[in-house]
Structures are given as C-alpha cells and as structure tokens.
C-alpha cells in the first residue's frame, strides 16, 4: 500500500490489510491528529483497507 503523508509531503509503502484504526496504530499516529482519505474519500476508523487502496493521511494541525 502506498501512503501519502501530507505533513512530510512524502510517500511511503507498507504491506497492510486491516482497519484504518489498525493502520494508524501501526504507524504510531494519533487518530485525533490526522484524517485518513482512502480513494479520495474521508473514511471512518473502522473502514477496512488493503494494499490496493490509495491512501492519503492529512494533518489536522496546521498554522501556528
């Protein structure tokens, strides 16, 4: 699965199948600090995703 992380403006790849919540736990990200977009739609934490999905992680925090 290729994931784009908005905060770093970088893409990275992981082998993953499970829920969004599990993915964030694996990445060590707080779900309050990010929004997960799968195939161009914001999804809830219980959404099942796999290696075929296009994932973007948006940072909730911005500004100063």
């Amino acid at each position: 699965m290729i994931i784009f992380n908005e905060k770093d403006n970088k893409e990275f790849e992981i082998d993953f199948s499970g829920t969004v919540k599990e993915m964030l736990e694996r990445l060590g990200m707080n779900r309050e600090s990010v929004i997960v977009v799968v195939n161009d739609e914001i999804v809830d934490d219980d959404e099942e995703i796999n290696n075929n999905d296009k994932v973007r992680i948006l940072s909730v925090v911005s500004g100063g």
């Binding site: 707080n30 779900r31 929004i35 914001i42 809830d44 219980d46 911005s62 500004g63 100063g64």
Partner: protein, 290 residues
Amino acid sequence: MMKCIKCSGKSSINGLCKEHFIEYFENTAKEVIEKHIPKGKRVMVAVSGGKDSITILYLLNKFGYNPEALAIDEGISGYREKTLEELRNFCTKYDIRLTIKSFKDEFGYSLDEIVKKLNLIPCTPCGILRRYLLNKYSKGYDFIATGHNMDDEVQAFMMNIMKNNINLIAKQGILTGTPMKDSFTQRIKPLIMLSEKEVRAYTFMKGFGISFVECNYVRESFRNYVRDWLNDIESKSPGVKRNLLKKLLYLSEKINPDYGDIKRCRICGQPSKESICMACNIIGRLDEEQ
C-alpha cells in the same frame, strides 16, 4: 463498512456521511453566528489563509453577512507567502474584500527580524503585534471573527488552569473583548463548537484547496505540547474535549473577568493596562536597539 447514522450512506466522520457531516458542520457554526451577530452588522474576519479562517469567511459569506478579510503578514520566511497566495485566490473567487497589513510596513521589522533583535520567544511579540493590528484596522466594524476552534479554546483553557489563572478563563468564551467598547472591536469565535479535525474534514470535503503549512516557530510553543496531550487523551476517551469546552463556557459565564484599570496607551491610544501598551513597548525596544 460503517453506515451513516442518518441515512444508508457510508460513514465518513463522526458516524455521518459526507452530506450529513456538511449539514451538521454548517448548522453548528450557523447557530453560533446567528445567535451572536445580528444581520446587517459589519464583520471583519481575521484571516491567516489557513483552514479555520477560510472556513469562517466562506460560511459568513454563505449566510449573507458580506464579511471582509484582514490578514496580517508577520514576516515569517517560508510560511506566510503560501497561505497569503491561497487567501488571495480564495477571496477573488468569492468576491470578498481582502486587506493585508505587514509587520514590516507597520513596525519596520518582520517577525523574523524582531525575534533576532530582541531575543524573545516568537509567539509573544507575534501575538501582541497581531492583536494590535487587528484592533487598529477593524475600527468601524462591529465584530472581528477569529478562527479559534474547539481545540484552540480547550488548549487555552488547560494552559490557563496550569497557570492557575482564573481571570484568563473568565475572559475566554464565544464573545470576547474589553469593556472599552469604543476602542476595542468585539471578538467572536464562530467555530468554537467544532473541533480542529472537523474543520479540516470540512475544508477537504468542500475542496477549498488549503495546503498543509506549519509556522516555523510552532515547535517552540508550549501550546504544542498541550495540543498533543489533549489529542492523546481524546483518542483514548472520546468526548473529553467537548466536555472541557462545556465546562469552560459554563465557567466563563459564571465568573466576571477583572480587566483591571484599563487606560489608553499614551503613544497609540489603544486600550492598555499600563501607560504604554505592550505593542508600543516592543516597538520602542526595537527602536532602542537600532
């Protein structure tokens, strides 16, 4: 797949599908706005070009308030340029009047230069000088709307508790200002009932095209630690932030703030606790350093 609690659509955030989330979001903001801003009043939005202020501009415009935008260019290299460009594009698209005032033009120094010159924590002069310019250029308007969301307000609440400063808590809330109405524009926080995550989701769904940018100095602020701490608690116990906000709004209504003896700054005439306001104090120190 989780379903929307209001229809058979796919849940996107808060158990709501995209359409019902947008409806919830706009109704929540509208309730605050219509309760506190009578139609026909002049509203200036303090804009940074970030998600919160862009959202307020959009909503006030949508609800028929004909807002104007005031942006402050602090002069933070690599940060403000992009947000101002996006702000200009947004205001052009929605036909909203935009005024930009810069630290450099107003005070002779950018924030980057001030920080180097005075060896201060950046957030201190930034906040003081921003508030000074917002007040100065909002004369004639009935309200300044600011982009503070639930997270901002709860973070400030926690920080004020940690400082054991009840008076600052009393000054928080939806409407803020000083009793010196003739020289201080009433502030309002239309997004106070909405979380930072909800605002970010809304801007994405509406396609506002806001880039992720972070102030160069944000890492140095204590607020950042409080923000992470609250997000950690919220993820383990959802609803904590909303409960804290409710308690804050309750307390700020119950406690009368003590504004002390408010005078007028003898240099600029703006409201001040001292004979020279904090902004003029900073400007004076900059001139001394020349």
